[in-house]
Subunit: 314 residues, 4 copies
């Protein structure tokens, strides 16, 4: 059965028709105004209508950022859109017809599911996916099932505490994993290094156009790929926190694979090698158990579409 | 269908016939010599034979401490018995006959499963169970399924790291949750308080017979129940670590209930109230989500028997 | 002998003639443009000339923020003025004449010295002074001598590390004491509490005019003085960090008194009582040694003038 | 003027006549029974009498472990001897005569003073000395003066807290520097590594005779000197904690040199290089200030004798 997957972002919507093997056979997109809730609804509906006009569709999966109610019909809260307790499924169903299954899913869960079904974790039953962008998101698969939690807010991996009294987090707590293992942490650490070790930061500063405030995660990755020792060290430190946090998750869930996605994962082995090393260093009962592997996400930017479609089909 | 559950401890074996409602309808036990692997095997076999002679049995669940292979037939490693890669299922099957299903399960998992099916978590689908004895063990149920992990070593909750560079743990790492939320931690903290605040420790020391080295967890609980301020504080501190760690687990798994069992849970609300408070203080996205409840384990010392039997039946 | 003390701030200069008992017998001030280095020099010179015209002066002490070279003539670096390697003593001496001793001193050292000579620590030989304003500054007196260090940069108490991997500091490091024991920390923690415990924050938010971003340290103190439980707790937490850090200093220096000054000290016992308690809780070898006392600074805003004058006289 | 210095240990007493240049011109020693207070007194007296018979002596310095009262006459408390509030000076003076100045000093202070006057810190005015043996002791010189503190218990450097909630310390607190930067920490970390990384620990285990419990600090140093990667790493980790803690002390005291002594300092650059690197990494205001140097202690085992004698002379 073919299904539509829709990935709803802050300023644009990407949608596609996905076959049973996770391949996208048609695709469309819409720009939206994130301050206008109705324009986003309309974008979702139009994209689905366009695709459904040309393809026979059995299900629609809508992936949105934020908290999704456990009925998988309502967006409870989403950071970059004005939706609060927004009955997205029913709004879409009214226009698309009720003969097609429609489900709403958290976007990180959707992307993680795509990796589990068709990507880096397709051969295992237990997966930790970490999406390392500005923040740290993720998804969990346990025994072949997506972990949604009692109220649909599981897999908020970025808010596991890793340092008591540690860095302030936007969530109001201290020491959240996200503050140590994310693009924002990478930039902040790089800016700190420019203060404490200016002599080692010349290349980084140059790439940032001479302005430490303009420094970005991709700047650090670029410098590291050129071999800049400070940048390599900064990515290794980020990788260390990824690996150590993942070891705590592994003590709980014993996954077969840790999938690393998100923008920062473009650093590849500069990030993965230290993450893996730190994971093994901290892994409980090492030597008495097999060890999870680390893999880069394989589904790219389409993961949300593919995962949402596939989850809707189930 | 009736099933036998066997709870294999260091020095004794307890076994029972369990009906489909989790009730034990017959029970037996054997003393064993933990240094003699064969005597333990024999104890298990005899206990099962005794019960099977009087009851019609459809399955046998064997709960053992340590790591159980994912085939649920082999005990990989267990701390207090000489078993290493021990094919327990086949040894028992050889004597009991192969017409009855036999499974081997980790004892904490078995106890947690009993709470999930018949005890403190019987009405929910997602549970974190914490067994607070000398160490910190536990069990996880996600979406109604017991979490065993890829290699059968999930739910090693005590080895989630809560303090980088924190207390040494017997596992070789630092800062494991077990070193902050266990009976051993309670005793160690009490002994530290006797050094730094001797004036407040007079009652505790008295209960311990005047010897700080002889202090036990139950001593602290007794003093707290009498209202001794230091002992109350020590249990509250232990509760705080339980709650804060549970908040990290909740960020990952969003359980409906946190079940507290094990010897230290005898402290009841002296432990639970501060645990609950700390959990809520640290809970990610509090106010935007429902909140897990805390409950004392309800199945008592029979939890291992009941859970092992019920898991074998599935 | 009378001496002039000058307290050089970001936007104004306060100067006074100080007698041998630490009393100010004449006073003047100048507004300055902190972006214009010369205007600050001129302000200092004019203030001194005005006072010297009416009083017989034996010495001049100039207190400036930032790093002072160990020759006590040059301001190496100061955060709020454009001075870098600025030969302040010689600039002033050129106008005031070389028959009067002129010394340049760090402003926190000057204020601390005033407390030691005439204020809260006048009866002891070993003092830790903590100035808790936006940041955390301080001064140290050991064996009756002001601690300047080898290069004049001692008593940077705010940059002692108290949490590895802790809060980011403007200095480029993590976990500096200043990030836990300062007005900025107080505000940041209050804002975090408004996110995680909004129900308890209603009074605080009201005092801040309904805008969490507008919250200040004095708002928290006001609410605490009214008895608001959250505000009381926030000051107690700040006090805890003050006391615990002071215990580390006491392990090194064994002071007789810890003097608490700066704007946040207006909270009085709401801050001091928890600071004292935490200090004693963490004090090394407690019970085998006498214990330092905590006292509020007694010299008020004139401390810089008085201390600078007195140091110049020595 | 010549002076006698006496270094009182747990099982032996070493004494010497020291000239004004810090040279020992005569030496003697006594074995003592640490459980017999009087035998230690007698040993001290006899050693002094023996030396005074042959040399003209102006002063006697007695260096003892533990807390010395600020009158420098009384040993308040010492861990390895039965002395409590022991009037050592008067006991010795009664036999040696009152025409010679006698002072009692903490042994770590005495050793540090020897380094300051004649050894690794002889050219500076501000020094941090760290004595890294089983525990972590030390001495502080500020502005050319030994720091004794208000009650004689300053320079308990090992009990500065470096990790909140960190390793338990014998003093009853958590996270003391001593638990991260001492021979005991080295051994404990090595034993942990043998658990978590047995494959890398083969050489270490071999040196320890195959018994992890028999491992000592010198074993680790030996393996590191042979180039064993794990041992090198363990010493580097120890060095990191030394350097990071020293950076906190430097924020307070701005010393010119950090002197590293004690048994563990035998590791030389394997310890010093990482200590120096970590110190610079964590040094506050680095780049805006000169940087302290690190040096190995130069006075060897005689430091206590030389320092005690020299302090008595002042």
């Amino acid at each position: 059965m073919h299904a539509i997957g829709v990935d709803i972002g802050g300023t644009k919507i990407a949608a596609g028709v996905v076959d049973e093997d996770g391949r996208i056979i048609a695709k469309t997109r819409r720009e939206t105004d994130p301050s206008d809730s109705e324009s986003v609804d309309r974008g979702v509906i139009e994209a689905c209508q366009e695709l459904a006009a040309e393809h026979e569709i059995g299900a629609i999966g809508l992936a949105a950022p934020g908290f999704i109610a456990s009925d998988q019909a309502t967006v409870l809260f989403t950071p970059n859109l004005p939706w609060r307790e927004h009955p997205l499924r029913d709004i879409v169903a009214k226009e698309l017809g009720s003969d097609v299954t429609i489900v709403v899913e958290n976007d990180a869960n959707a992307a993680g599911w795509a990796e589990f079904r068709f990507g880096a974790a397709r051969d295992v039953q237990d997966m930790l996916m970490l999406t390392i962008g500005t923040g740290l998101g993720g998804a969990l698969v346990v025994g072949g099932n997506l972990v949604r939690g009692t109220w649909g807010v599981a897999a908020e991996v970025g808010h596991m505490r890793v340092v008591p009294g540690g860095h302030y987090c936007g969530c109001g707590h201290e020491g959240c994993w996200e503050q140590y293992a994310s693009g924002s942490a990478l930039v902040r650490d790089a800016q700190s290094a420019l203060i404490t070790e200016p002599a080692r930061g010349t290349r980084l500063l140059e790439i940032a156009g001479g302005d430490a405030d303009a420094l970005t995660g991709p700047h650090v990755t670029q410098a590291a790929q050129e071999g800049d020792p400070l940048a390599v060290e900064l990515l290794a430190e980020l990788g260390r926190w990824i690996g150590e946090g993942a070891a705590s998750v592994a003590a709980l869930l014993d996954p077969a694979v840790v999938v690393i996605g998100g923008g920062v994962s473009a650093a590849g082995d500069l990030l993965l090698a230290p993450a893996r090393r730190a994971f093994l260093d901290q892994l409980s009962a090492r030597g008495h158990r097999p060890e999870a592997t680390f893999a880069l996400a394989a589904m790219g930017n389409d993961a949300g579409i593919v995962g949402a479609a596939d989850l809707a089909r189930r």
